[in-house]
Symmetry: C2
Subunit: 320 residues, 2 copies
C-alpha cells in the first residue's frame, strides 16, 4: 500500500515516529478539512499541549521570511527543533517569488531539525481560522517544541490567525510600511513583541518612538506586559538573538502570570465556537437547497423580496 492510501491513524503513527513525508501527507489532509482531518485532530489533541507557538506577522515586504530564516538559524545553533507554518500568500515559503529567500530556505529544508510547511486551505470549510490550529496541533503532537506561524499582516482572517499564537511578533520597517500604518490598530492589539526589521535603514528611532507613543496611548493592559521593540536586520541576522530573548521573556511572563493558560483556554473556547458555527454553516448549506430555496432565491433576484426576509423564512422552516 502506498503512503498516499494509508489510513489516517497509521499515517499519524508514522508521523509520530518521525516520518516526514507522512507528516506532510497529514497536513494535506488537514488542509482538505474532511473526515480524515477530524480523525487526525482527535488523535493529535490528547498528545498536544507541550509545543509553544510563535506568530510572526507584518506587511508584505517587511522581510518576515528573511527574518524567519535568520531565526531558524539562531534556534538550530542551539539545537532546538522547530516547525514553520507559512500561511502568508506573499511568503517565499508558500511558493513565492524571491529566489534568494527560497534558496536560503532550501538550506533549512535539508535539516531534519526544521520542518517547513505552507498552508493552502481552499477545501477547508472553516478556512484558515480552523485549519491553522489543527495543523499546529499535529506539529505539536508529533513533538515539535517550537512552532512558528508566519502570516501576512493584511487581511481580516490572517491578522486574527497571527494573534492566536502563544507569543506574537509584529514586524514593521523603519518609517513604517504604509500597509502597517493603515492596519495598525489590528496589529497593535495582537503584538507581544515588536520588531523593526531592516534596521540598517534610516528612521529606526522615529519608528521606535512612534510605537512607544502608540503603546502609551493604547488602552491595552500594558502595565502587565509591555511589548518590547527590537531592531533587527534579517539579512545579516543582527538583532535576532535579542528578538529571541524577547520571545523567551514573553513566554516566561505568560507562563508565570497565568496569562498563557488563560489565553490558550480562551483560544480553545473560540475554536469550539467556530467548530459549532461551521457545523451550523454546513447545515445552512443543506437548508439552502430544494424547491423552497429556489423559489426564495428567485424572489430575491427579482427583487420581490429582500435577502433578510428570505433568510427569516428559510430559518423559520428549519425551526418548525
Amino acid at each position: 500500500m502506498s503512503r498516499r492510501q494509508l489510513p489516517a491513524p497509521e499515517l499519524f503513527q508514522a508521523a509520530v515516529n518521525g516520518d516526514r513525508s507522512a507528516l506532510a501527507r497529514l497536513l494535506s489532509l488537514i488542509e482538505r478539512g474532511d473526515d480524515d482531518a477530524r480523525t487526525i485532530g482527535r488523535l493529535a489533541y490528547p498528545l498536544s499541549g507541550s509545543g509553544y507557538t510563535v506568530g510572526l506577522t507584518g506587511a508584505p515586504g517587511a522581510g518576515k521570511s528573511t527574518l524567519t530564516s535568520s531565526l531558524i538559524g539562531h534556534l538550530r545553533a542551539q539545537d532546538l527543533e522547530i516547525a514553520v507554518l507559512a500561511i502568508d500568500p506573499s511568503s517565499p515559503f508558500t511558493g513565492g517569488a524571491i529566489l534568494g529567500d527560497r534558496v536560503r530556505m532550501q538550506d533549512h529544508a535539508t535539516d531534519p531539525g526544521v520542518f517547513i510547511r505552507s498552508m493552502a486551505t481552499r477545501g477547508h470549510l472553516g478556512g484558515l481560522s480552523l485549519a491553522t490550529p489543527e495543523a499546529v496541533r499535529v506539529l505539536d503532537a508529533i513533538g515539535r517544541k517550537w512552532i512558528l506561524v508566519e502570516t501576512v499582516g493584511v487581511g481580516q482572517v490572517e491578522v486574527e490567525v497571527a494573534g492566536k499564537a502563544d507569543t506574537t511578533i509584529v514586524v514593521v520597517n523603519p518609517g513604517w510600511g504604509d500597509s502597517v500604518q493603515a492596519n495598525k490598530a489590528g496589529l497593535m492589539e495582537i503584538a507581544d513583541v515588536f520588531v523593526i526589521n531592516k534596521a540598517d535603514r534610516k528612521g529606526v528611532e522615529e519608528t521606535s518612538r512612534d510605537l512607544m507613543q502608540m503603546l502609551d496611548l493604547s488602552d491595552l493592559p500594558h502595565d502587565t506586559w509591555r511589548p518590547p521593540i527590537i531592531p533587527t536586520t534579517g539579512t545579516t541576522g543582527q538583532g535576532v538573538p535579542e528578538l529571541w530573548d524577547a520571545v523567551l521573556a514573553h513566554r516566561e511572563y505568560a507562563e508565570s502570570s497565568g496569562d498563557l493558560r488563560e489565553r490558550r483556554a480562551f483560544r480553545l473556547r473560540e475554536e469550539l465556537r467556530e467548530i459549532v458555527a461551521t457545523r451550523l454553516g454546513r447545515r445552512a448549506r443543506q437548508i439552502c437547497s430544494g424547491e423552497r430555496w429556489d423559489q426564495l432565491t428567485d424572489a430575491v433576484v427579482e427583487r420581490s423580496t429582500d435577502p433578510w426576509t428570505a433568510a427569516d423564512e428559510m430559518l423559520a422552516a428549519v425551526d418548525a
Copy 2:
C-alpha cells in the same frame, strides 16, 4: 434632533435626497451591522440594481489608489458620478500613510460628484463579505451609477470581495510584485481586466506575456471573455482611458451575453446563504453559553475531551 439620532428610515430618505453626511452616517450603521443595518438594507434593496460595481484589487504597493484617483478624474471629466468604497487596509483612502495620494484624494473629496468612503467592519458579524454588498447597495439605491470597490489582493476574504463586482480589475506591476505572484491563482480567477500599472518601468512586455500564458493555461472559459491586459501609469494617467474602455467593453459583453444577470443572481444566492449561515452563527453563540457549555469547554481545556466531540454534544443538545 441631531442627525446622529435620526432614525434609520429618515436618514435613508435624507441620503436619497442628496444629503452626504446622512449617507456617511448610514454607512457607519451598515458597518456596525446591527438592527439598523438590516432596516437600511431592506429600504435600499428595492431601490438598487441600476448601479454598476467595478472591483479593483492587487498587492499592496501596486499603485491601486493612485490609479483609482486617475480613474476618478477620467470619469469626472465625462461628468459621471461615482462612489468609491475602499476596503483595503493599505489604501490611503482608509487613512493610510501616503500623503501625496491623500492630498490628491482631497481634491476629489470636495467634488460633489465623488463620494469616497473607507470601510471598517469590526462590529459586523458577517465581516467584510456581508458588509460590502450592503454598503454597495446603499450607494446604488441613492443613485450612484458607478461604484468602485478597492480591496487589497492578499487575504482570503479581501480577494473574494473584489471578485464579487460586476467587473473586476486586477492590478499587477511590471516584473510582478511577489505578493501577486504567490496569490496569482486567486487573482487569475476573478480578473475581468488586467492592468499592468507603473508601466513606465521595465518589464511590461514580459509581464504581459506571462499573463497571456497564464490565461492560455487556465481552464477558465476564456473563449467567451478573455481579460484584456492594459498598461497604465497611475501617476500620469497614461492608459487610464484605455482601462476605462476595457471596463465598458466588459460591461457590454456581460450585459449582452447574460453573464451579468447570471453573476448577480449567483452573488445574491451566495449572500443569502451567508446571511443564513451568519444567523446560524449567532445561534451558535447562544448555544455556546450556559452551564453545559462551561463544563464542555473546561473538559476541552483539560483535554479530557476534544473540540469535535464537544461540538457534537452541543449540537445534539440543540437538535433534541
